[in-house]
């Protein structure tokens, strides 16, 4: 009763703030919470006539189908490994890019390079896939026609040789995403008190010593937060990158198949909504567990840097 009255008091006192928060809350409710009801599909054999609530309940059958499939290991391995590379390498690339941009003295140069780095992230993945195709295509691709052949080397059939694709996909990912991922680090670096660097230079630190002793420790809270969030999505993948960039080529599916592309292909071929919902449910649950585990690990090591 007391709790209720204090909540009412708060609502009365801060109603303008709650009012301001209302559109955001409504958005979250409609966009993030109502669709959660759809998870029930993961436990049903969905039929259009039965609808979401009237279809036959089949327990964990959809999950069984998902994991008993021969591709289960490949898609899980690919999703995990690509994400681990994206998280680890992304951390290094984003921080270094942000640091180099931050170190530029000229505002003009900084704006120029930032725009150049950010531009690819504004491109649709379809355009990116055709840009990649323009480079990699067997007959008309730039690499084969203008680099390998003039050098007297054998042309490469990129879309049928899977050994190249882990590198191509990682390169395309960083080419496209570094601009956006370095922005947060750049903003954080700009917020570091410049007198810390001055004090370090008076103490005898070189630029790299300042980077490792001032910049990185000051970025640790951001690094941890972003890493925990990324770990939470470790079973998700960038559908466009893994489906569009390889041009849905069947020959290289062993290295481009991820859970998301598998679900999409499954949906296209069998229209099995239950299996797709099961895959998404699995991604969410595992992601949630990983966030909790990572956060509790961070809290044990350095409680001040934990998210909650």
């Amino acid at each position: 009763m007391q709790k209720k009255s204090s909540l009412m008091k708060k609502l009365k006192k801060y109603w303008p703030f709650y009012f301001l928060a209302l559109p955001g809350l409504i958005y979250f409710f409609i966009n993030n919470y109502i669709p959660m009801g759809g998870l029930i599909l993961a436990f049903e054999k969905y039929t259009v006539s039965g609808g979401i609530f009237g279809s036959k309940k089949i327990g964990f059958q959809n999950f069984k189908f998902l994991f008993s499939n021969a591709d289960a290991w490949i898609m899980t391995r690919n999703t995990l490994l690509y994400n681990i590379v994206f998280i680890l390498l992304g951390l290094v690339i984003s921080i270094l890019t942000a640091y180099f941009l931050h170190e530029l003295k000229s505002n003009m140069s900084r704006k120029f390079y930032q725009t150049v780095i950010l531009f690819p992230s504004l491109l649709s993945i379809i355009i990116v896939s055709y840009l990649a195709n323009a480079l990699l295509a067997g007959d008309t691709g730039f690499i084969n026609n203008h680099i390998l052949l003039p050098l007297g080397l054998e042309p490469i059939s990129f879309y049928s040789e899977k050994k190249w694709w882990p590198f191509i996909l990682v390169f395309v990912h960083f080419w496209q995403m570094t601009g956006t991922s370095c922005i947060l680090y750049l903003a954080n670096m700009s917020a570091i008190d410049p007198s810390l660097y001055e004090a370090a230079s008076m103490d005898g630190a070189t630029r790299w010593q300042s980077f490792f002793n001032i910049t990185i420790p000051c970025l640790v809270p951001t690094i941890i937060t972003l890493t925990i969030l990324a770990v939470g999505k470790i079973f998700n993948s960038d559908f466009g990158l893994f489906y569009q960039v390889p041009m849905n080529s069947g020959a290289i599916i062993d290295v481009t198949q991820t859970i998301d592309t598998y679900v999409y292909r499954g949906l296209m071929n069998t229209a099995n909504l239950g299996m797709s919902a099961a895959a998404c449910f699995y991604q969410s649950v595992v992601g949630f567990c990983l966030v909790m585990i990572t956060n509790s690990m961070v809290r044990r090591i350095s409680s001040e840097n934990a998210m909650f």
């Binding site: 003009m108 001055e198 370090a200 008076m202 103490d203 420790p217």
Partner: protein, 394 residues
């Protein structure tokens, strides 16, 4: 311990792209031309410091003082190597330091906002510079603990800066600076973030510290009390120029110009429009119907400068102004009881005047609207040129 010599130092911040264009933008014919009000803005950029010449002796405590934007911090940062010197030469121990990196100048600096590394403990903050110099661990430990002992922060060595109060952080910042026994210690308004009580305490601590570590100090402040109490010599700056260099006593008793006279001393010096009269070898000032003869040593200096009769700005400090039976007539506006004295805020013919009356000399109390006469002695009157604002004795 080192001598520091600054020769004709100048600092110009060039315009960044766009600013110059804006500045040079052609004005329309009907737009009135604005007068340049800030002398520091020139065609080459914003001049922060110019014609700065100073010889700092070994183990001397020099205080740079002046209002905001006068160039005192810029000068200190040029000595530190944090700002490039646009022109002139900087010598530390006889070596030209213009192009030497901060870490190779063997100087330490205490920053206004402490600049403690937030992720390091107090111990690590203090040990950082020694670690970078690959000092053996046991020696680092010995030096850090010695410095902590001096500053009474031993009990906080394992804490992080955010768990310390402002005063404790300031001590850590000083500790970090003294731990490697620098040749020159630079302090950039180190007490300005502290409250009044703590500032007084820390001021006394710095005086004690100076006696213990015995090195050359350059200290920047805008607080004249700090400048007067800490400095062996004070450098008073305005608009990037040195206005006067002298001991606290010298700048207080013999201000070089109107700015120094007004800046040093609290409450500020009273200024009057007066007439300086020369009668042979004697000099008098006439103000508010009274005529006061200047002291012989002042007359000698005016004579030496061949000063003639002229309208002047007369300056007399509130503590040198006396309430008397006869003198300049004024009315009491406010009487502030300060304990040992009363600060009388008077209105003398439209001019605000402050007179400090020791309570021991008071015959009664002062009320708003009371008529009071005040006078002054010829020994404590300062006469400034109306044209140049310079003290005519200089």
């Amino acid at each position: 311990m080192a001598e520091v010599k600054l020769v004709n130092i100048k600092k110009v911040y060039p315009y960044v792209s766009g600013e110059e264009k804006k500045k040079n933008k052609k004005k329309s014919a009907d737009e009135p031309e604005k007068k340049k009000v800030n002398l520091q803005i020139t065609d080459e950029g914003v001049v922060a410091v110019q014609a700065f010449n100073l010889d700092i002796k070994d183990k001397e405590f020099i205080v740079l003082v002046g209002p905001s934007g006068c160039g005192k911090s810029t000068t200190l940062r040029m000595v530190a190597g944090l700002e490039e010197i646009s022109d002139g030469e900087l010598y530390i121990d006889g070596k030209l330091m213009n192009d030497v990196a901060p870490k190779d100048r063997d100087i330490a600096m205490v920053f206004q906002n402490y600049a403690l590394y937030p992720h390091m403990t107090v111990y690590d903050n203090m040990a950082f510079s020694l670690k970078l110099r690959h000092t053996p661990k046991d020696e680092i430990d010995k030096k850090v603990r010695e410095a902590a002992e001096i500053l009474d922060i031993t009990q906080y060595l394992e804490r992080k800066p955010k768990a310390l109060s402002g005063g404790q952080r300031q001590r850590v910042a000083i500790g970090r600076a003294i731990v490697r026994a620098p040749k020159v210690m630079l302090m950039d308004e180190p007490l300005s973030n502290l409250d009044a009580k703590l500032r007084n305490e820390m001021r006394a601590e710095i005086i004690k510290l100076r006696q213990r570590i015995n090195t050359t100090f350059m200290y920047v402040t805008h607080d004249q009390t700090e400048a007067m109490t800490l400095g062996d010599r004070i450098v008073i700056m305005k608009d990037g120029y040195i206005q006067q260099i002298g001991t606290p006593q010298e700048v207080f008793n013999h201000p070089a110009n109107l700015f120094v006279a007004g800046f040093i001393g609290m409450p500020v010096m009273n200024f009057f429009d007066a007439e300086l009269k020369r009668e042979g070898d004697k000099f008098f000032v006439e103000v508010g119907g009274i005529k006061v003869e200047l002291a012989p040593e002042k007359e000698a200096r005016l004579l030496k400068n061949n000063v003639q009769s002229q309208p002047v700005t007369l300056g007399v400090r509130p503590e040198h102004t006396d309430v008397a039976e006869q003198g300049i007539a004024s009315t009491v506006e406010v009487a502030e009881m300060m304990g040992s004295s009363v600060h009388l805020h008077l209105n003398a013919d439209g001019k605000d005047v402050i007179v400090i009356v020791p309570t021991i000399d008071m015959k009664g109390s002062y009320k708003q609207g009371d008529t009071v006469h005040f006078t002054f002695d010829g020994k404590v009157a300062h006469v400034f040129s109306k044209e140049t604002d310079k003290n005519l004795e200089f």
